[in-house]
């Protein structure tokens, strides 16, 4: 399947991937409203790690056997058998955070939306055209591509 791959050599630590992720997962799809009205600052579904000068955006690897799915107590976290995308059905999540412990990449954070718990994790912008982090990366430090045959 197509996944987002990071190219750390090209990452300049601008954090625009986070901004674009937040907007893509907002109700308004508008930068100003997402930050100032919807209060979504800090809710990016990827994590920019910094060991300057090195930086890299880490997001869900959409594993073949996802630990987050195996550990989910409510059945909220699933891997779509057709697309391979691992995502959380947020209205089913009870916020136990077993998914957070499960993720070997540290790509899931505990979060909150409308007073309900939600795991903050990449869903490859499955309801949009493609990952907003990739589309908005000014230096092609993130690419969306198929790397493994049959994966």
């Amino acid at each position: 399947m197509k996944k987002v791959y990071a190219r750390p050599a090209y990452c300049m630590n601008c954090h625009l991937c986070e901004v674009n992720c937040i907007v893509a997962h907002s109700r308004s799809r508008d930068l100003f409203r997402a930050y100032k009205r919807e209060n979504l600052r800090g809710t990016a579904r990827l994590i920019v790690e910094e060991r300057l000068p090195l930086s890299v955006a880490v997001q869900c690897r959409h594993c073949d056997d996802p630990r987050c799915v195996a550990g989910c107590i409510s059945g909220a976290m699933v891997k779509d058998p057709e697309t391979g995308i691992v995502y959380c059905q947020e209205d089913k999540c009870v916020g136990c955070w077993t998914c957070v412990v499960g993720c070997p990449f540290g790509a899931i954070r505990p979060g909150e939306k409308n007073g309900r718990p939600v795991p903050l994790k990449c869903d490859l912008c499955r309801e949009a055209e493609g990952p907003a982090c990739v589309a908005g990366c000014p230096n092609r430090a993130l690419v969306f591509e198929e790397r493994r045959a049959g994966a």
Binding site: Y5, A6, P8, I47, E49, E50, R51, L54, V56, V58, R61, C63, D65, R67, V69, A70, G71, C72, I73, S74, G75, D91, K92, V94, G95, C96, W97, T98, V100, V101, G102, C103, P104, F105, G106, A107, I108, R109, P110, R147
Partner: protein, 410 residues
């Protein structure tokens, strides 16, 4: 190929998924003693609190069973396994033939012999039916005693407190959730609970129970304390449901059923997964992974189950705990901690030979928990980045470059 799965919880559902990766055609039958399609058992406390409704209980939508062509027999108990004839007998006399059989029968609450105790005097806290029964009794102002302050007792406590019930926890050990929490963490959480109005009696247990004239329970404790209660919940552990396998040749039972690395039981074509398996931590992620692997192997794969250290995420009354591996250990280990009692924050890494052996995270939980778990399971030497482990910016980039590059490329 004809597959029969006894039990219909997390291991069973994952086994169906595992089978269907290799075999789209074979028939699959699930037999469940409960009257419900699979639900995550930990959800029962959320249901009792009304944070989860009936329609949110199913672990997978109904279409899961249809899409995977699974016949589900609910409310029927498997009473006998006949390995000679490759048949399972149900309690209505029906006999189900199998080519591959999965025992995903889980466990049942252990109830110790207590003087005067009858089955009408207590509740258990494992099944949907347990909380449906408990709901009518959990009325504001009533008093409950919960025997056992492990994960089950603590989640029962939370849901009863949220319903306005006054709760007393009675725990035989010298601290709550002793296998996961060290003394300091347990005492911090004990104070938190007492602040929430929960009574906690440690080093104590029930010795005698009787009904008083007003129908309330009178409880006598080992310490000499006497308590009155409207509700008694037994939450001191589960015992694997191994009855179907008892006395069968080739099967070894050591509390649970002993399985090979492929999760086979020693009987031809018969596999086991989840809480019924000997030595496996009775935890949901472990049951899911075992179920998936057993399912694949039943359908012809040759996959090995690598026993996983326990890991658990438990939240109650707004407090969150993550424990993994040897999280309660102190003596004889190198221990790194970050403690802020005022914020109820406790973060502890247990190191053995410069490898993570246990992790305990209370109230400051972020994505690094997953990295710790992976380090612990892989047994990676952490000496080169030990100083960074508890730093707020610790992450994949602290690991050796060859490792983080490989992870990013997955």
């Amino acid at each position: 190929m004809n597959y029969v799965i006894i039990g219909n919880s997390i291991a069973a559902v994952n086994a169906v998924a595992g089978i269907r990766e290799y075999d789209r055609e074979g028939s699959i039958t699930i037999v469940s003693a409960e009257n419900y399609y699979a639900y995550g058992r930990p959800l029962i406390s959320y249901w009792l609190e009304k944070r989860v409704q009936d329609q949110d209980m199913p672990y997978r939508p109904q279409e899961f069973y249809e899409k995977n062509c699974v016949r589900v027999i609910l409310g029927r108990r498997a009473v006998k396994l006949d390995p000679e004839a490759c048949q399972v007998h149900l309690d209505n006399g029906e006999k189900l033939p199998y080519d591959r059989l999965l025992l995903a029968t889980g466990g049942r609450p252990f109830v110790p012999p207590i003087d005067g105790l009858t089955s009408a005097d207590y509740f258990t806290f494992i099944n949907y039916d347990d909380v449906r029964r408990l709901e009518a009794f959990a009325i504001p102002g009533r008093e409950a005693v919960i025997l056992g302050a492990g994960p089950t007792g603590l989640k029962a406590m939370e849901s009863l407190v949220q319903r306005g019930v006054k709760v007393t926890l009675v725990e035989l050990a010298d601290r709550i959730w002793a296998p996961a929490l060290d003394e300091e963490a347990a005492s911090m959480i004990a104070t938190f609970l007492q602040d929430k109005g929960v009574n906690l009696y440690l080093n104590d247990t029930l010795t005698r129970v009787y009904r008083e004239a007003d129908d309330r329970l009178h409880l006598e404790l080992k310490s000499g304390r006497e308590l009155q209660a409207d509700i008694l919940v037994m939450a001191i552990g589960v015992r694997p449901n191994v009855e179907l396998l008892e006395g069968l040749p080739g099967v070894t039972i050591n509390r649970g059923v002993v399985v090979g690395p492929d999760l086979s039981t020693g009987l031809p074509g018969v596999y086991a997964a989840g809480d019924v398996v000997a030595g496996s931590p009775p935890l949901l992620p472990h049951a899911a992974i075992q179920g998936k692997i057993a399912g694949r192997n039943m359908a012809g794969a040759r996959e090995i189950y690598q026993p996983l250290p326990p890991y658990n995420a438990l939240g109650f009354l707004g407090l969150h705990i993550i424990s993994m591996g040897n999280s309660a250990a102190d003596e004889g280990y190198e221990v790194l901690t970050e403690i802020d009692p005022a914020a109820l924050v406790y973060r502890k890494l247990v190191l053995k030979d410069n490898r993570l052996d246990g992790v305990l995270l209370i109230n400051k939980i972020d994505h690094r928990a997953g990295i710790y778990r992976q380090l612990l399971e892989e047994g990676l030497e952490v000496a080169p980045f030990k100083d960074a482990l508890l730093r707020p910016d610790f992450g994949l980039l602290n690991l050796p470059e060859i490792i983080w590059r490989q992870k990013l490329a997955e």
